[in-house]
Amino acid sequence: MVTRAETNAKATALRAVFEREGAQVVEPPMLQPAGTLLDLYGEDIRARAYVTSDALRGEQVLRPDFTVPVVQMHMAEGAEPARYTYAGEVFRRQERHADRPNEYVQVGYEVFERADPAASDAEVFALIAQALGDLPVRAVTGDIGVLMAVVDGLQTSQLRKDALMRHIWRPRRFRALLDQFAGRTPVPPSRRALLAGEITCDAPLVGLRSHREIEARIAALKADADVAPIKTRDVDMIEALLDIAAPMPGALGRLHDLSVDLPAIIPAVARVSTRMDALSARGIDVSSLMFEASYGRTSMEYYDGFVFGFKARDHVDMPPLATGGRYDALTRRLGKGTEIPAVGGVMRPGLILELESRA
C-alpha cells in the first residue's frame, strides 16, 4: 500500500524534473468556479466532478484537473512562451466503479509556445517518458486532428460536417450520424411527414425557443434532404483511418496512402510526420511507438491534435500512468479572442509507486 507521504514525495520529485526544464510552478485553487467547467463540458462534468456551492459564490467545483485553470491563468496574465508545472490533488466523482479513487495526486507540465508545435509535442512526451524511466509501460499516441481533417474534407454540406465535428468525441453518436448522412438509416415517418409539410400544430408555443427557430430548423432539414448522401467510399475511408493501429512508421505509411484519396488530410498527416521526426530527435524509439488513430476519442477531454498515454504493460486493470495532448482549441475558447498553441501532460505518482511495488 502506497502512503500519502510517499505519493507526495514522489510528486515533488517529478515536479522538480519539470522545474529543471525552466517550468514555473503554479498552484491553482482546489475550488474552481463551476461556470467555466459547466460551459465547457456541460452536464457530463456533474457526473465526473464534485459540484458544491455556497450562498455567496454559488456553484463551485472541486478541481477535476489542472489544465483548465492553468489555461485560464495563462490566457489572463501569462507571458509567451511559457512552461508551467504543478503537483496536487484532483477529485473525480465515481458512480460506477467503487474501487477507483475519487481523489488522487497529479503532476503536470504544460507548454504554451507558438514557434514549433511538433517540437513542443515531442518535448512533453519525451520528458514524461524519461520521468517514467524503466517502468514496464507501453506508450500509445494518436492525433485527433487527422480525424477532424477527414471530416472537414468530406464532400458534403457544412451542416453535416459541423454535426459530425460536434460529436467527434462521442463515437457512437458519430457513427449514427455518419450512417444517417450516408443514407444507411431509413428516414423516420415523422421526419418524412414534416418535410412534406404535413405536420401542423394548433397548440400554443410555450417557452423561449421561438417560431423563427423552429422554422429555421425545418428549412435546414429540407435543405439537408436534398444533399447527396456521403459516398460509401468516404465512409470506408473514415473506417480505414479509425482502424489504423500500428507502430509509427507503418501507421504513417497508411496515413500517406489515405491522403492520396483524401488530399484534405495532407497537412494533418504532415504534422504527424514532423512530430515523428521531432520525437526521434528527442531520443524516442519511434519504430516501436504505437500510433492509434482512434486513441483519445472516448475521453471527455479537450484534445484536438496530438494525444498520448502510458499504460502499465502487464496490468490492464490499471488506469494510464500518464496522459496528455494538444489543446489549441481550449485556449481559443478560454482566451476571449486570443489563442495560443498549447500541449501538456499529467502523471499519477500514486500509480507509478504502485506499479514499482508490483514489479
Binding site: E95, R173, P204, V206, G207, L208, R209
Partner: protein, 229 residues
C-alpha cells in the same frame, strides 16, 4: 429484534400498500392519530412498521436500517448508484405506475426524437448563448439517459415540483418528469418525445442486501416472503 418494513407515510401510495398487504392477510395501520408517524402490524409476528417519506426509503434500505421497503423503481434507480448491489427487488406491487419521460413543447413540430433534440439543442445554444435547459428532479437518470443517447449542449435545472410549468415560465425549454396519464403534459402544451421514455416505474417491494439479520429476523423474513409469495 424485529424485522423492519418501511412504507410510505402518506397518501395513495401508503393506502395502496396497506391494501396490498391486507390482501395477503397482513394488516398494516398507523397507530394513534392520523398525524402520528408510528405504525402497527397484525397478522404476522416480529415485524415492525416504519413510516417514511417514499424518497427516503431507498437510502434507508441501502444503509441497512430497514430490511424491507416499498417505494417506486424511479426513486431507487435515481438515488442509489449501483442499486443492484444494495437492494433486491422482491415484488412489483402493480400500482403507482408512472413513467419517467422527456417532453418538449408540442409546437416544436421539428423535434420528435432524441436525435432532433440534440440538433435543436446545438442551434438553441448558438442562438441564445446558453445550453438548452431541461427541468427535472431526476438528475442522475436523465443525465445517464442523455449521455447514452449522445445528446449534448443541454443543462439540467433542478425542479422539485410543478416541473411541467417551467417551460411556460421560461426557466426551462424541456422537462423530464414522471407521468402516469400524460394529462399534465397536455395541459401544459408539452409532448413526449418518440424515444423519450427514460424509465417505467411502479411501487415495488425491495429487500435490503446490506441489513444485518439475527436468527429471529431471518425467520420472520422467510415467513413474510412465504405469505407474500
Amino acid at each position: 429484534m424485529t424485522l423492519k418494513l418501511g412504507v410510505p407515510s402518506k397518501g395513495r401510495l401508503m393506502e395502496k400498500t396497506f391494501q396490498w398487504f391486507a390482501a395477503r392477510g397482513i394488516t398494516l395501520a398507523r397507530s394513534g392519530s392520523d398525524r402520528e408517524y408510528a405504525g402497527v402490524v397484525d397478522g404476522i409476528d416480529n415485524v415492525s412498521l416504519v413510516l417514511l417519506s417514499a424518497g427516503e426509503i431507498p437510502r434507508e434500505l441501502a444503509a441497512g436500517r430497514i430490511h424491507l421497503g416499498v417505494t417506486g423503481t424511479d426513486l431507487v434507480h435515481e438515488k442509489l448508484a449501483l442499486w443492484e448491489q444494495s437492494v433486491k427487488r422482491v415484488e412489483e406491487l402493480g400500482f403507482g405506475h408512472a413513467d419517467l419521460i422527456l417532453a418538449v413543447p408540442k409546437a416544436w413540430i421539428d423535434v420528435d426524437t432524441l436525435h432532433d433534440l440534440d440538433a435543436a439543442a446545438a442551434a438553441f445554444r448558438r442562438a441564445h448563448g446558453f445550453r438548452m435547459r431541461i427541468a427535472t428532479k431526476y438528475h442522475r437518470l436523465v443525465r445517464e439517459f442523455l449521455r447514452a443517447a449522445g445528446v449534448a449542449d443541454y443543462a439540467l435545472v433542478d425542479s422539485q415540483g410543478a416541473t411541467e410549468g417551467t417551460v411556460a415560465n421560461e426557466t426551462a425549454e424541456a422537462v423530464a418528469d414522471i407521468t402516469s396519464t400524460g394529462e399534465t403534459l397536455r395541459a401544459n402544451h408539452l409532448k413526449l418525445l418518440g424515444d423519450g421514455l427514460i424509465l417505467r416505474s411502479q411501487a415495488t417491494l425491495w429487500q435490503s442486501r446490506t441489513a444485518s439479520m439475527d436468527k429471529a429476523e431471518r425467520a420472520s423474513l422467510q415467513e413474510l416472503l412465504r405469505r407474500l409469495g
